[in-house]
Symmetry: D3
Subunit: 190 residues, 6 copies
Amino acid sequence: MNEDAMRRFPVPDYEDLPEDLRDRIDEETEEAGFTPNVFSAFAYKPSHFRAFFAYHDALVSDTPLAREEVEMIVVAVSGANDCLYCVVGHGALCRIYAGAPKLADQLATNHRQADVSDHHMAMLDFAVTLTESPEAVTDEDVQRLRDAGFSPEEVWDIASVAAFFNLSNRMATVADMRPNDEFYAMGRSD
Amino acid sequence: MNEDAMRRFPVPDYEDLPEDLRDRIDEETEEAGFTPNVFSAFAYKPSHFRAFFAYHDALVSDTPLAREEVEMIVVAVSGANDCLYCVVGHGALCRIYAGAPKLADQLATNHRQADVSDHHMAMLDFAVTLTESPEAVTDEDVQRLRDAGFSPEEVWDIASVAAFFNLSNRMATVADMRPNDEFYAMGRSD
Amino acid sequence: MNEDAMRRFPVPDYEDLPEDLRDRIDEETEEAGFTPNVFSAFAYKPSHFRAFFAYHDALVSDTPLAREEVEMIVVAVSGANDCLYCVVGHGALCRIYAGAPKLADQLATNHRQADVSDHHMAMLDFAVTLTESPEAVTDEDVQRLRDAGFSPEEVWDIASVAAFFNLSNRMATVADMRPNDEFYAMGRSD
Amino acid sequence: MNEDAMRRFPVPDYEDLPEDLRDRIDEETEEAGFTPNVFSAFAYKPSHFRAFFAYHDALVSDTPLAREEVEMIVVAVSGANDCLYCVVGHGALCRIYAGAPKLADQLATNHRQADVSDHHMAMLDFAVTLTESPEAVTDEDVQRLRDAGFSPEEVWDIASVAAFFNLSNRMATVADMRPNDEFYAMGRSD
Amino acid sequence: MNEDAMRRFPVPDYEDLPEDLRDRIDEETEEAGFTPNVFSAFAYKPSHFRAFFAYHDALVSDTPLAREEVEMIVVAVSGANDCLYCVVGHGALCRIYAGAPKLADQLATNHRQADVSDHHMAMLDFAVTLTESPEAVTDEDVQRLRDAGFSPEEVWDIASVAAFFNLSNRMATVADMRPNDEFYAMGRSD
Amino acid sequence: MNEDAMRRFPVPDYEDLPEDLRDRIDEETEEAGFTPNVFSAFAYKPSHFRAFFAYHDALVSDTPLAREEVEMIVVAVSGANDCLYCVVGHGALCRIYAGAPKLADQLATNHRQADVSDHHMAMLDFAVTLTESPEAVTDEDVQRLRDAGFSPEEVWDIASVAAFFNLSNRMATVADMRPNDEFYAMGRSD
């Protein structure tokens, strides 16, 4: 694991980790070809590692949202929160899942200028509003999502992804997690 | 379970829930004397129920922070995010765990005016800054916590509690979760 | 009078006050069963004491607004300004005048989630907008109040209450006025 | 009285006003050579007229602050709140009392660029902070004023003037009070 | 040239300037009767002097907008950016070109309260939005300008003037450019 | 030239452009291997095309700042203003001039987390503050740049680059200029 995975807390040694963490890290490393630094960073506190990735897994596996939709939300929210790790790491996933090499840079910079459908723009508007002004979300905001064709469960899930990355963005920034070099370039060719 | 636990999504019937959810809800109901509405609300989506409470449990059970410190952070963060359910629900817990009937109202309104030690004021300043301006957290902010006597693990945990309630606050507001009547008055006498 | 009525200016001795201030303080003390700290605090400067309470008295005595409506506005405005004294002190009055034990906590946290009629929500939206963005109040905002059924005089009075507590909140925060212990718990049972 | 003194409420007829209001208006008219529109506007509600000007009179007559200092605070606060009536009306007073034809435009635009002493800059910084972020005023802000040479009573009075114009600015903007033509040009020559 | 034209950079000697700068300065001085300080200030760096005034000249000479419309935009934008030099300097030009002695103070303080037509209010709303929230400008904002009767080229030019003064305001504030005394009073009589 | 260079104004035909614009476009196209869309977009109004690029050229050719420093400022400022065209287009230039494939994504997302020296961090802090809060730039901000080793002329130039891109960002967003596909990927390998 990368010692420079984050800069404000020490990264533990792989050998010292509980077996279930090592298994998950092995699996991710095999799949990605490298260990994404968020795994090395959260290993600092195994109980949080387990909780964080379990929540993440629920969000991406038990949802009518397509995976590319989830990643679009993540990148727009992380851009609004100015979170380096999540913009770069999930920017790579967004490019890959959406098969759209330019999409992540558009979403991270200003989702209003992104090449997305009206359906997806409504989803992103909602996620960014919930990020920037949670106190001001009203029935009208929820209704706008429903009018754009999202089911109640999809509304819940869009909110959940946005909310979870309001957690993730804050942890990544506090710890100064560093995106792996690989993430910057992944998925940039058609 | 209270049908009015939240106003923007339907509350499921207790009988229709998976057994592990019913068990957890029974346990909470027995302990509190009523079912806190956040359990009824998250039951809308069992996979999220499990992930949400597992993360919460890790935060309060595996930490050098005292439970009253955790609740102080929760109330200050939820006040900054204007989240009704969390201010009222965790306000009750804060009063009870801290044995301080006035503390929650102070923290929810303006943590700067709360009757807390300098040590705790540093903790709350950090949590509120992370909530309101996550992008601007710097080495100096982290150092200020260390100077106030918090260990690295405590810094991580303070950040984690603040981050998690940035998730919770957004879900509670989107769903318009309603605090149980009991929470408003609990812990208000010395 | 409580020496700790405020923390950034000295509280004068009751015996040293002009007679009209002592009379007013006696009256308030008899009515409330204790001396609300705002009276002890403003006694620091008798000419301001007189002006402050005369304005306050005009607002609550010469208006078609019900007293509970006045207190609802006060709590929502004071919540928006994060003012401890006014949220707690007028929270008590709001609970009592409205006969609604939960209302003040809802208004102070997020008026958008409060259990109020559409008529009162329009009133509160206006008061909070005037508090947070006075420069942006337009004909449309005023018209919305008229459409919600408020007379021109009521519009003036809603604005006046909101404006006056933008004064009060600032004085209470600068002086670090402390809510009396009694206020925290008053009016919390049905 | 000018029918166009304000645009969102009707201006009453002078003849219909209570005698004490007519007396005050006569006095002001004689002194200024015209009736400042704020008097015509507040006459809409006589009880508020009395309270408003009584508070104002206390602020300018019972204070160790020089009148020009009071007007400097008023203009900086009103500029921060984008209030047309108060910037123009009190801009005139500021120019006259300070004998400084350029000062009001500087204060209304950006007090940081105004030609004032360090002593007065501290006073203005405090007044503008209290206007824009009342919740964030701390012991340090008050201490900075004390270090700049202001007595405790002067601190109270600086805060009181700033607080009162946070009331005035909101009333003037809600009512769309119009500055008299005379105010725009008064005091502009040395 | 005025040595006090700006306070954070040295003002060069007229004699040391390249001939084209001297010519332009002579011309402006002859026209205005004094050397506007922005010319003395930008002479600090001749290549920027040339570029800055060339852009400015293009904006005012090649446009279907009336010169008074250009100056109205400049004053509203500069007011939003709290820029002393531009509010005072262009305030004078605005008064003169529009033949409206009160207009500049209204626009600099709060364009929403200015005595302008609906057509011009739409123009000013757009310019101020572009100044304060450039990222949030959408098709609807542009359409509103078109609906208010502005041609596509006028939309481009309104945006260009607003954008250019977002440059100017920042240079003037960084350099602490001082408005010439003459500007404060120019154009104030009908 | 790309018809889709911008979406809110028509892109003119190359053949219809004045000769000096065609020459400049030819030159840029030869150098880059494609026509950067900002040239096609500004060709909408030739007088502005000339002024815009003349200012730009002065900024990059007459300065002690290294070109990579200029591009670092541009990307940080454009990220703060959420400007798609400038983040992507100048992100490419930043990567190339700095020989740093990851730098632009870091600067655009959150300059505080970028891999830059303290010297450059001071430069970027200044540029972003000037972008977000121009009214609040003070002597201390300028002194901090001087303390970080920047000469007065470099301070002027840092401010000028930041100011100019506050113009550019607004024009690019209003016109909805689209980054050329090439920019997204350029300079991403070491």
